[in-house]
């Protein structure tokens, strides 16, 4: 998801750890200054900062189309949406900062390539239909993951997610609305929509991360109330929700193994190409280098601005003190 493969480290079992676990089991929210195991703190920092980085890098593929949106209203909607991603990154960085790491430190980890962010944002947006597909599929998948995070055991993260979910509810709908307009449009537009679905379907399924049976960290995260559902549960839910929507649009989901399974009350579907997923995570996706270069450029080019405003504030403080 927006935070994939978050390491948890090994759990300790001191008296304090046991008390902490009891608190979580009772559903008590952990707050910034409360005692917490180092592993919990570190896992949260990793997860929240990855989530924040994903929002920030996630601005880029969609931002790529703001200047080319095909109507004034679509331009405004897309700009508002990409702006929201910046806002969500901001809320999440602030939530992580309560755990004792600064935004600058987290930014440095992103810019150096050390920190991870969601694999999905390393795919290119090639046509206007991709903006529809990203909103519909990627935001759809994100919401599925984020709704349970509103109940996360860490208060600041849970509150940030409540705000994010409230704002994000229009994102998926605007994507679907773009797709709907295309699918009801000319043959060219419909072909454009199908092409976008073909390219975004599998990367969207990969967003949920590999199967939990291969994930060593999921169990601990679930015990700590940082993660509420398994990757496979959420992926299944996503497929079950999305396939009928694709049918409604008159589009074909590009999976020959896709079939309704009456017995389980859900769809059976094919396995994503996990070797591709791991390559993208390693930095070898189609856009990893471009995305990091764009973030580095924005940060480096903006240094004079950030420093200039601090210099002015310090001058004013000196004047006020005299």
């Amino acid at each position: 998801m927006y935070a994939q493969l978050v390491e948890t480290g090994a759990a300790e079992t001191s008296e304090k750890d046991r008390e902490f676990q009891e608190k979580i089991d009772r559903g008590v929210r952990i707050e910034a200054n409360d005692w917490m195991p180092e592993g919990y703190r570190k896992t949260l920092i990793r997860q929240i900062s990855q989530h924040a980085h994903s929002e920030i890098v996630g601005q880029l593929p969609e931002g790529n189309w703001i200047t080319r949106a095909p109507s004034l209203q679509r331009k405004a909607i897309l700009l508002a949406k990409v702006q929201d991603e910046a806002g969500h990154g901001l809320y999440l960085y602030c939530a992580a900062e309560t755990l004792g790491i600064s935004r600058d430190e987290m930014t440095a980890q992103l810019l150096s390539g050390k920190a991870k962010y969601s694999s999905i944002f390393n795919y290119p947006t090639l046509t206007w239909a991709d903006i529809g597909a990203v909103g519909w599929l990627v935001d759809g998948a994100a919401i599925m993951n984020q709704v349970p995070l509103q109940r996360c055991s860490y208060g600041p993260y849970s509150r940030a997610m409540i705000r994010v979910c409230k704002e994000e509810s229009f994102h998926q709908r605007q994507g679907f609305d773009i797709m709907r307009q295309l699918c009801q449009g000319t043959d060219d537009q419909k072909a454009m929509a199908q092409d976008a679905l073909n390219r975004w379907w599998w990367p969207s399924l990969m967003m949920f991360g590999p199967s939990d049976k291969d994930s060593v960290h999921s169990e601990q995260s679930m015990k700590w109330g940082i993660k509420q559902n398994t990757n496979d549960e959420l992926r299944q839910k996503f497929v079950d929700q999305t396939v009928p929507q694709a049918e409604w649009l008159g589009l074909t989901v590009p999976d020959p193994d896709l079939a309704w399974n009456e017995a389980k009350g859900g769809y059976d579907f094919g396995e994503p190409d996990w070797s591709e997923f791991y390559e993208v995570l390693k930095g070898n996706g189609p856009c990893n280098r471009d995305r990091l270069a764009a973030r580095n450029k924005a940060w480096d080019d903006g240094a004079w601005y950030r420093d200039g405003l601090i210099a002015h504030a310090e001058k004013q403080q000196t004047i006020a003190a005299e």
């Binding site: 601005q59 080319r68 095909p70 004034l72 702006q83 004079w304 210099a311």
Partner: protein, 249 residues
């Protein structure tokens, strides 16, 4: 073309091209908070564009929509001031462009609040609140960054030197404005120019920036004469609708 239509296009094209240029910063600004703030201005400008184009389209009476006006006119038919098409060279240029625009836009919108044309008056009364916030913010940043570090001062001065000659195009007038002034649609535009001069002089003094003294001025945008950046802006902005002229989006 009808004077009213021309004037509305001059206004709407200016807010559209500035909105387009401003929107391009989303995801690339110096700090997250600025990504968000700049996008808010872009959204206001695109919203104002819609309103100007609605008035223009109605006055024109040819059944064109605001989107037709934005996406199916050529460079020579765009009547925006040249200032707003100047490139996003760096964030200092973007901020200075915004401020110089705001320094004209606010007195213009304030004056239009008294227009004899009802739709324009309504537009101005709605927009003027947005514009007051824009200049409040852009002016603050000009002062802070001018009177900031040596580097930020140098960047802002370079941006002012580059953009100041284009400010004149915001205030360029011809028979169109004269006709509309005679009809009571437009107020006395000399007032707007005086307000712009007072605003920029006071702000640049606080910002410790020097307004270029050589009086060099570039105009032409109001009659469709643009700088070389303009064609690229339109090529990018209009590419999708023009590739599929029968499509709806």
């Amino acid at each position: 073309m009808d004077s009213l239509v021309t004037f509305c296009l001059r206004m709407g094209d200016t807010t559209l091209i500035l909105g387009q240029q401003t929107a391009a910063w989303c995801g690339h600004a110096p700090v997250l908070e600025e990504d968000i703030a700049f996008a808010n201005m872009g959204l206001d400008l695109i919203g104002q564009t819609q309103l100007w184009y609605e008035i223009a389209a109605e006055a024109e009476g040819r059944g064109r929509t605001p989107d037709d006006l934005a996406f199916f006119r050529t460079e020579r038919q765009f009547l925006n001031a040249q200032l707003v098409e100047r490139p996003n060279t760096d964030f200092a240029h973007a901020l200075m462009r915004q401020y110089l625009f705001d320094a004209w836009h606010l007195p213009m919108q304030e004056a239009l609040c008294e227009s004899g044309h009802e739709a324009i008056r309504d537009l101005a009364r709605k927009s003027v609140k947005e514009v007051r916030y824009h200049i409040n913010r852009s002016r603050d940043l000009i002062v802070r960054l001018g009177d900031g570090s040596d580097e930020s001062r140098a960047k802002m001065q370079a941006a002012l030197d580059a953009l100041w000659p284009y400010a004149a195009d915001l205030m360029a007038t011809d028979a169109v404005e004269e006709t509309l002034a005679a009809q009571g649609v437009l107020p006395d535009l000399a007032r707007v120019r005086r307000a712009f001069e007072a605003e920029t002089a006071a702000t640049m003094a606080r910002a410790t920036l020097d307004i270029p003294a050589n009086g060099h001025a570039r105009t032409g945008g109001r009659t469709g004469i643009h700088t070389e950046t303009m064609g690229y802006i339109l090529a990018e902005m209009q590419q999708v609708p023009r590739s599929y002229p029968d499509a709806r989006w």
